[in-house]
Amino acid sequence: MRQSEHTWFALFAFTVLAAAIYTPASAATHSADFMRPLGPIADMQRTELFWATVIVMVAILPVFVGVPWILWRYRRSNDKSEYAPAWHFDTKLELVMWGVPAAIVVAFGIWLTQAVFRIDPYRTIDAEMAEGMNFEIDGPPVVVDVVGLDWKWLFIYPDEGVASVGEMVIPVGRPVSMRLTTDTVMQSFMAQGLAGQIYAMPGMVTRLNVLAEREGTTVAENTQYNGTGFASQRAPARAVTDAEFSAWIDTARAAPPLDDETYAQLAKSGDVAAARRDLGRTGSGPLAFALPDPMLFGRIVGRYRTGAPVPPEQQPGSHSYDPEAARLPATDKGMSDGND
């Protein structure tokens, strides 16, 4: 069986090659991510990944080891090995086959249940949670309203009276409570260093609660495809000291206001640089705004909940969107009758 020996050699060589090529995640990036979390939520997610990997290994290592061994040992040309062509059942083996995976799934199920309750994205981060997960809270919560536009994120800080496009800034140690929606098609918000993602959908509000334990930057990105500029919908999310945060707020307050006309322009499809051009601003990088109307987020959600049709000209993201024609409802009334 010469041929079969060649096959063996090739399979073996390949395994070695594959192992050599596939080295784990490189450390070349500086920003925080799933593997290098900034806060307790992402940290717990990484821990879950670690333990899930370990426990599943119990079930799959026997395959990686057993298959090559069986194939080699019981190859046809080896007449020293046993041959039991009629053997087809063994109670003990059955018990192991069903029992081991079942036991693993029980453990796995308990862990995942604990995890989803503990780091439920809708759960506000409070002293109780901090105690349970062993981290510290240092200061009052910050509310951030996130609006997904094509192809940029708008971050509204209603209590501070500012807004920002293309950059999210949060103070270290303070719980951040986000409400999310979009003013176009569906999107998904993810800042890996802080927490996993949550969908953002027009006319609806979802929530995400995070906290950064140390200074650093991660990427706030959209992962749900929403058109040609999709790849550019990535903004740095910076966790900074309280002092830096206040300073940032002060600069933003001095910036031009995000009034209704400005918002209508901003909502046009395009990346941050395009928005900058449309608004007649010079320079580059993220855009800061003063926020005249703290209810802006609610009015954006309410756009789709007035009970009247919203023609494409009035829907940001549509090809026929016309900033002159599109007007947000006057109040955030529409949002209050539904909170999904």
Partner: protein, 695 residues
């Protein structure tokens, strides 16, 4: 009369073929080039058919046949044609991403989006589905000892509807382009407000129309298995492949309707201004996500179960051993089928539902891993203490064992919502589903082709070429997709046209290299076929049993006659044929021969295909007169048909006897060969069984 009355919204500007002349660029060269390749390819086939005078052959022997074996072969051929497109797109996409560092890859972003959307749609609906439907078609009646499907004409119509879906996706290549919202086509992005068309319309009609075909196939297979098993073949004496086929059929029956409904609701939104999934007036895209995945999750088991069936048959055959744990396998298959309806939410743990819902679906998902794990162990136990032949199917099986286990591992990881939130919608998912689809489904199919090609064509595929190709698939797969796990963990979204993290570059290059190896592997399949055809005399196995097979189909000549069996066999055990061989009494001959009635050929399938293609095309382009004409034609055809009795052809007993006795005589003239000579011109398909040694 206005032009729009005749052509709807179709205009010259939609002719992709001309794009490159209108505005020459790399981008238009690729899209127009692809369109030209398709048009010229189709033209070349038509010219060849005409010049070689093959139209009659094509029509009589193939397009109008109701023989399940030929229908099966046509499904698989369709799968390969579409796969050529899907693989080409995959390689272009990998090249694109490898050059997408900080943007500026060689195609437009619009084009990129169309690529991943057509690639996904084509691969799932017009490669994977035809492959498994083709196998079930070919094998079910032969394995259960029947002459055909329960509804042979419906079977042909199902194929026609699948052809319709594939045709619409192909037409979009040359006319107007496809949608850009991925194979899942989530509204509102694919809604009329954001994409007036025709792309999403092509998607809707190709999915809805072919979806009917798949559902009919499911009904047909299930009834065939319930009603037409040979006498004596209880459920628990059925070959495992038939069990997996039965479970897949049940899934087809119940999983396709939600997809069809979701598609039709999209059509209502798009054409008649409904608001099921729009942003305004109470429309809700979350309902679409639920409907889609109520189909989508069972769909992955629709695809993988028949591959499990093939792997089960092949471990037993190539280990020359009885399958270990038949009942365990059957139970595992059934439980997978049932549980698969209760896990769809794991495709959107990120939609903001309560933790208890996420936990419930996370646990349900993990539970499916139990029967799946059992299957892998069962196959290992089957190989244990066997006499394993490292033939091409076993090489695929080896790749499957190792790689699929990695895919299952990432699947379990994804079942934990807390982890899922971090990698959902990233390249990790791309790695995961290719990891189960390629080593699972596709390797299973290719292994199956090596096993049953000799049954269908009477000669084996060249072993060495086959093995090399299989190794290329394994290596190519691992290089292309394993690196994507890493970039996914680092947050590279799926469907993303660019990246700005230089750390991704090495992974992208390895992945690109892998894609070229996969391309070579795909070509390897045709090289194997070509070499085998050239050597078909030395590879011939007309006597029908080249692998020392275990199930009824191996007890027929290769290729089997249109009536499969001279008389319907009597079955007394599992692996009936293997048992007869082990006892030294195979090939029991009928005491008497009878006339055999078979359904006559019909053009019903072609009528359905042509009229529904016209219908889908017309609804896509708003050509209302054509839509009305096509719908009317279809209804009228079946109305008129219903007045006539369906014709049959009768094969006289004497003919059946002649064919059968000629085969038996050839068997007697040929010495049976043992497994040492499997890959040897002496193997004419008369097997001396290894099993006899021990039992």
């Amino acid at each position: 009369m206005e032009m729009t009355d005749i052509f709807g919204r179709l205009s010259w500007a939609d002719l992709v073929l001309l794009d490159v002349f209108r505005s020459p660029s790399v981008d238009t060269a690729v899209s127009s080039g692809a369109a030209w390749i398709m048009v010229l390819g189709a033209a070349a086939v038509l010219v060849w058919l005409t010049v070689a005078g093959r139209w009659g052959w094509l029509w009589r022997d193939w397009l109008t046949t109701v023989d399940h074996k030929k229908i099966g072969i046509m499904y698989i051929t369709l799968g390969f044609i579409m796969m050529a497109r899907g693989i080409a797109e995959g390689v272009v996409m990998r090249s694109y991403q490898a050059t997408a560092y900080q943007g500026g890859a060689f195609l437009s972003e619009e084009h990129w989006a169309e690529l991943f959307s057509t690639h996904g749609t084509v691969m799932i609906f017009f490669v994977a589905m035809p492959f498994i439907t083709g196998f079930m078609n070919y094998l079910i009646p032969l394995q259960i000892g029947a002459r055909d499907m329960a509804f042979p004409v419906l079977n042909q119509i199902s194929l026609g509807l699948t052809g319709t879906g594939a045709a619409l996706v192909m037409i979009s290549l040359a006319l107007g382009g496809f949608e850009t919202g991925g194979w899942t086509a989530y509204p509102p992005f694919t809604g009329a407000d954001f994409d007036p068309g025709p792309g999403p319309d092509y998607w809707v009609w190709s999915i809805v129309l072919s979806g009917f075909g798949s559902m009919f196939s499911g009904l047909n297979f299930a009834v065939t298995i319930y009603k037409m098993r040979a006498p004596g073949m209880d459920y628990l004496k059925m070959p495992v492949f038939c069990w997996t086929a039965l479970c897949t059929s049940i899934l087809l029956i119940f999983a396709l309707p939600p997809l069809t409904v979701a598609g039709l609701m999209q059509a209502l939104d798009r054409l008649l201004g409904f608001h099921f999934f729009t942003n305004d007036l109470g429309g809700n895209m979350m309902n679409y996500a639920n409907l889609f995945w109520m189909f989508g999750h069972p769909e992955v088991y629709i695809l993988i179960l028949p591959a499990y069936g093939i792997f089960s048959e092949l471990t037993a055959t190539f280990a020359a051993k009885r399958l270990y744990g038949y009942r365990s396998l059957v139970m595992a298959t059934m439980s997978i089928a049932v549980i698969s309806f209760g896990v769809w939410l794991h495709h959107f743990f990120t939609m903001g539902q309560s933790p208890s819902i996420n936990a419930a679906f996370g646990i349900a998902t993990a539970i499916i891993a139990v029967p799946t794990g059992v299957k892998v162990y069962v196959w290992m136990a089957t190989l244990w203490r066997g006499r394993i032949r490292m033939t091409t199917p076993m090489v695929y099986m080896t790749g499957f064992f190792i790689l699929f286990t990695i895919g299952g591992f990432s699947g379990i990881i994804l079942a934990n919502p807390a982890i899922n939130w971090q990698v959902h919608n990233t390249q990790f998912i791309v790695a995961h589903f290719h990891n189960v689809l390629l080593p699972g489904l596709i390797f299973g199919i290719f292994a199956g082709i090596h096993i049953w090609f000799p049954k269908a064509y009477g000669f084996r595929l060249h072993e060495r070429a086959g093995t090399i190709t299989a190794i290329l698939w394994i290596v190519g797969f691992a290089m292309t997709f394993l690196p994507l796990y890493a970039v996914g963990l680092l947050g590279y979204p799926r469907r993303s046209a660019a990246f700005d993290d230089p750390a991704f570059l090495p992974y992208m290059y390895v992945s690109l290299t892998g894609a070229f190896i996969l391309l070579a592997a795909f070509c390897g399949l045709f090289v194997t076929l070509w070499i085998s055809i050239r050597n078909r005399d030395s590879l011939a196995v007309p006597l029908g049993d080249p692998w020392d097979g275990r199930t009824l189909e191996w007890a027929t000549p290769s290729p089997p006659p249109p009536w499969n069996f001279p008389v319907i066999p009597q079955v007394s055990s599992l692996d009936a044929f293997a048992k007869e061989k082990a006892e030294g009494k195979p090939y029991v001959q009928p005491a008497e021969y009878r006339d055999i009635e078979l359904p006559a050929p019909t053009s019903a399938g072609m009528v359905v295909m042509v009229s529904t293609t016209a219908l889908g095309f017309a609804l896509t382009w708003w050509i209302w007169w054509l839509a009305a004409a096509a719908a009317f034609g279809l209804v009228a055809y079946f109305f008129v048909r219903s007045f006539f009795e369906y014709p049959h052809i009768v094969i006289p007993a004497i003919e059946v006897q002649r064919v059968n006795e000629a085969w038996i005589e050839a068997l007697h003239l040929c010495t049976p060969v043992n497994r040492d000579h499997e890959d040897d011109p002496r193997n004419r398909g008369h097997a001396a069984t290894d099993m006899a040694i021990a039992s």
